[in-house]
């Protein structure tokens, strides 16, 4: 890992791992929207960052000029040998049309509202158990003791993995998500235990079949053929990675908001019917996920001279703060009625787990504020935000008020 110089101008040298961007990206994006609105960088081998809603949505829907074969900005580009084309390493998120539609169709029924709603009682029981364990201490950690435990338990259940691996799960997520600045060699080495763990789980499901998403993937047939092993492995890795720190970040950010905005907390406690609109505003305002594409070929696009294999950082959180689409975009309005946010992306790559994420977020907030109707940040300086393409608070100590 190399030490990089701090960014002086994000318009010509953006870096989403720069401490300024990690701690508070919103003023940076506002400035870029006014000045650029597409920023450039030579870092990571070259890339672009549209800061407007229009720029982000245009790229998100364009699968002709951009490829999803990798969606995490890093120092290397995947070589041809790393791509079991046309599947991509983690279908369907890394797949392009036409294969994408097949891979997505396989995945969606398991994550549609029906099966997701059936999981709600278990998620609620999990949240209640975590809150019981947190108890009546004056200070509890809404991040490390609560938010971070919810999605791994849900995903583990979905995939049918053995109990007790939550810590290992978080390590895996950390390796994948927060190591973007490492070299390709480091990345390959770091990824070895992840691969080993998954291969073991797949073998176990082959030997001891059960009713879960892993066995569904092992059995499902497309035009009479079972899925390739790489496809099964990739979709499982995707489910794990995309289903954990994303939702954990959303839950944490929402609790961070309530800990810093007593008037919103009070309204939500007193007017529980606000919850559905409040959830959408949490998702808009604190959208955790930024995606990426690679430019397919040299072209002039959004007024920029893009080159083949340049990165395109797809900032859904930035789009959600664009004042040309959202009146008072930088204001959190808990009962915002019209809210066309793009926290889950849009177009063919809309987050496949959005129904699950929303349910987890809603239940986690409902249970937390039921147990602790009044709380505030215990130590604003102690709150840390995860760097990289998934942004949310990790350490979140809050003081429970009487």
């Amino acid at each position: 890992m190399t030490i990089k110089p701090p960014v002086e101008d994000f318009a010509t040298d953006w870096d989403h791992t720069d401490p300024q961007w990690v701690s508070n990206p919103y003023p940076i994006w506002e400035d870029l929207r006014e000045r650029c609105p597409v920023a450039h960088t030579e870092r990571f081998g070259g890339g672009w960052f549209p800061a407007t809603h229009e720029g982000v949505t245009t790229v998100a829907k364009d699968t002709v000029n951009f490829t999803s074969r990798t969606i995490l900005v890093g120092n290397g580009r995947p070589g041809e040998e790393a791509l079991p084309a046309p599947i991509g390493v983690a279908p369907p998120i890394t797949s392009d049309p036409p294969f994408h539609a097949i891979a997505r169709r396989i995945m969606l029924p398991a994550l549609a509202p029906g099966p997701v709603n059936a999981l709600e009682p278990q998620v609620r029981a999990l949240c209640q158990r975590l809150l019981d364990e947190m108890g009546d201490h004056e200070i509890v950690n809404a991040g490390l003791e609560y938010s971070q435990y919810i999605p791994p338990a849900v995903i583990k259940q979905l995939l049918g993995f053995p109990p007790g691996d939550e810590e290992l799960f978080r390590e895996i997520i950390h390796i994948i998500m927060e190591g973007v600045d490492h070299t390709e060699e480091e990345r390959i080495e770091e990824f070895a235990p992840v691969e080993e763990y998954f291969v073991k789980q797949i073998e176990d499901h082959r030997e001891n079949p059960r009713d879960d998403f892993t066995n569904y993937l092992l059995n499902v047939e497309v035009e009479g053929h079972k899925l390739a092993d790489e496809h099964i492995f990739g979709t499982m890795v995707l489910t794990l990675v995309a289903g954990i720190d994303t939702t954990w970040s959303a839950i944490g950010a929402s609790l961070f908001h309530l800990a810093t905005h007593p008037e919103d907390l009070e309204r939500l406690v007193n007017e529980p019917e606000l919850m559905p609109v409040a959830i959408e505003e949490f998702l808009r305002y604190y959208a955790p996920v930024t995606m990426a594409r690679l430019v397919k070929h040299d072209m002039e696009y959004l007024g920029c001279p893009m080159k083949e294999d340049d990165w395109l950082l797809l900032g859904f959180p930035a789009a959600n703060r664009d004042p040309s689409v959202f009146p008072d975009a930088d204001k959190f309005i808990i009962d915002r009625a019209e809210n066309r946010h793009v926290a889950f992306g849009l177009g063919i790559h809309r987050c496949a787990g959005s129904n699950l994420a929303r349910m987890e977020l809603r239940v986690a907030i409902e249970e937390f504020i039921k147990r602790y109707p009044r709380f505030e940040l215990a130590d604003a300086g102690a709150v840390t935000w995860a760097p990289g393409q998934v942004r949310g608070p990790r350490n979140l100590p809050v003081r429970i008020l009487a």
Partner: protein, 65 residues
């Protein structure tokens, strides 16, 4: 007045059927579908419009009589 969802545009964002469950439902992939023939009354026109103005994909169309 009638409401419809363009299935080519809908990506299953799930906003319509949570905002207006009396007008919209979902299929087994989680994509939005209109319940019945989509005829709107004076009573539910507003909630159809609200769902429309929350669809990130702009997939909902209301045909005013």
């Amino acid at each position: 007045m009638k409401v419809s969802i363009d299935a080519e545009i809908c990506q299953g964002q799930g906003r319509c059927f949570s905002i207006a469950p009396d007008i919209f439902s979902f299929d087994d992939l989680g994509n939005g579908v209109v319940i019945g023939d989509g005829t709107l009354t004076k009573q539910n026109l507003d909630s159809a419009r609200l769902a429309q103005s929350n669809c990130p994909e702009h997939a909902i169309f209301i045909e005013e009589a």
